[in-house]
């Protein structure tokens, strides 16, 4: 039976980017339906009634929500190739810990850097840099967070590579100075087809975020 895989999606949403990358790593054919945040489709409201947010993976009619939960699901169902998590339970726990750390920190802090002002902005910038340095220490000299294999922790973080230029502009910082190893890691990930065909470049993303700030009334 052919699988029907639909992704309720948005081009610039980091959580959605994670899922697209995971699907491509596994070579899974899927249909992407773009959602408009200001005009959510009835399908989205039906498939994610609790949060009404993307991404939602709809696999043979059944919805799975929350980007990292979706990535875990994809790994469990399409388990014949390209594992996204290690096999050893301790290594798996390690990957999940870092993916969760990224999930809880980077979006909120990054967004505060490009929306907030004054003390809030200063605090967010400080926290963000601190978090990125912690991640950089965890990466160390490994090619990927997963070691030799590109995995869930890399997938959790890589969408934010598109944000680097934006963070530099609004944060008045240089990523190459603050976390050069992460910049190198980002470039390495971009050599993977799943990543390069999914991430928007940093300037397009900056333009998108400028528009988004206007819509949010942040000026």
């Amino acid at each position: 039976m052919a699988d029907e895989v639909i992704l309720l999606d948005h081009a610039y949403s980091p959580p959605a980017v994670r899922v697209r990358i995971a699907l491509k790593e596994k070579g899974i054919a899927f249909e992407s339906k773009q959602e408009d945040f200001s005009n959510k489709s009835s399908l989205l409201l039906e498939m994610n009634p609790v949060h009404k947010q993307i991404p939602v993976l709809i696999h043979n009619g059944k919805p799975i929500c929350e980007s990292l939960i979706i990535v875990g699901y994809i790994d469990e169902v399409w388990n014949e190739k390209s594992p996204l998590l290690p096999t050893d339970p301790h290594d798996r726990a390690h990957s999940k810990f870092w993916a969760d750390y990224i999930d809880k920190k980077i979006y909120t802090l990054g967004r505060a850097v490009w929306t907030a002002k004054g003390e809030t902005h200063a605090a967010a910038k400080k926290d963000l840099i601190s978090s990125l340095k912690i991640l950089e220490a965890e990466l160390g000299d490994k090619p990927y967070f997963g070691g030799k294999t590109f995995g869930i922790t890399d997938i959790a973080l890589i969408p934010y590579y598109s944000w680097f230029y934006t963070l530099e502009k609004f944060g008045n910082l240089k990523m190459n100075e603050e976390c050069p190893k992460l910049v190198a890691w980002g470039e390495r990930c971009m050599q993977r087809e799943s990543v390069s065909t999914t991430l928007h470049n940093q300037y397009e993303t900056y333009d998108f975020i400028l528009e988004l700030r206007k819509k949010l009334g942040v000026e």
């Binding site: 799975i64 939960i69 699901y73 169902v77 301790h90 798996r92 726990a93 999940k96 810990f97 750390y101």
Partner: protein, 227 residues
Amino acid sequence: MEENQGVKLLGFWVSPYVLRVKWALKLKGIEYEYIEEDVFNKSPLLLKLNPVKGQVPVLVHDGKPIPESIVILEYIDEVWKHSPLLPQDPYERANSRFWAKFAAEKLQAYAWEALCSRGEDHERAIKASMEALEKMEKELNGKKFFGGDKIGFVDLVAGFISYQLPVYEEIVSMKILDSSKFPAITNWINNFLNHPLIKEELPPKHKMLAYFSNRRNVILVQNSSNK
């Protein structure tokens, strides 16, 4: 590979995050050494085993530390495969993870906010808590436990609702767990608290009342001096 040796748990007596792990270890019949930490005066051991966040719980198995309660639960389930906490089917597993995340990140946060705030913030937090509970009520849908007939992953993560939320309610004289609005959750609370392994492993109520009252006061003072 099963290992019943070398399991340690660093915890704090009142932490719901730690309690989830204790319950999981108990349900699986895993013996462990418990090390009580003072989270307000963190030991070098805790800071060494969880350098990133410095928080409990930390499970140490065969000398290797695992932090983060939900990550620990999944680890326990993978290493000790009997009495599974998560379902086998990938879709059901994703669903369990969704509701565990919802309970831990939304409901727990709103309930804490309701405890540690006043006025409009407090009212808003109560409303958010009840809306979150409504969603969990629908998901429970008359089952004995979120895991079905047996306690599962979601029950352990959501377990704080059964014993901690009533303590918050008492401290600030609020009502969130309305049995007429949430009959399934009310029933679930009874089933959960009466489970032989759970009821042996709950913090004493009078101690919780004292602890959380104190925390509420400290946070209210901190918040008003920050304004």
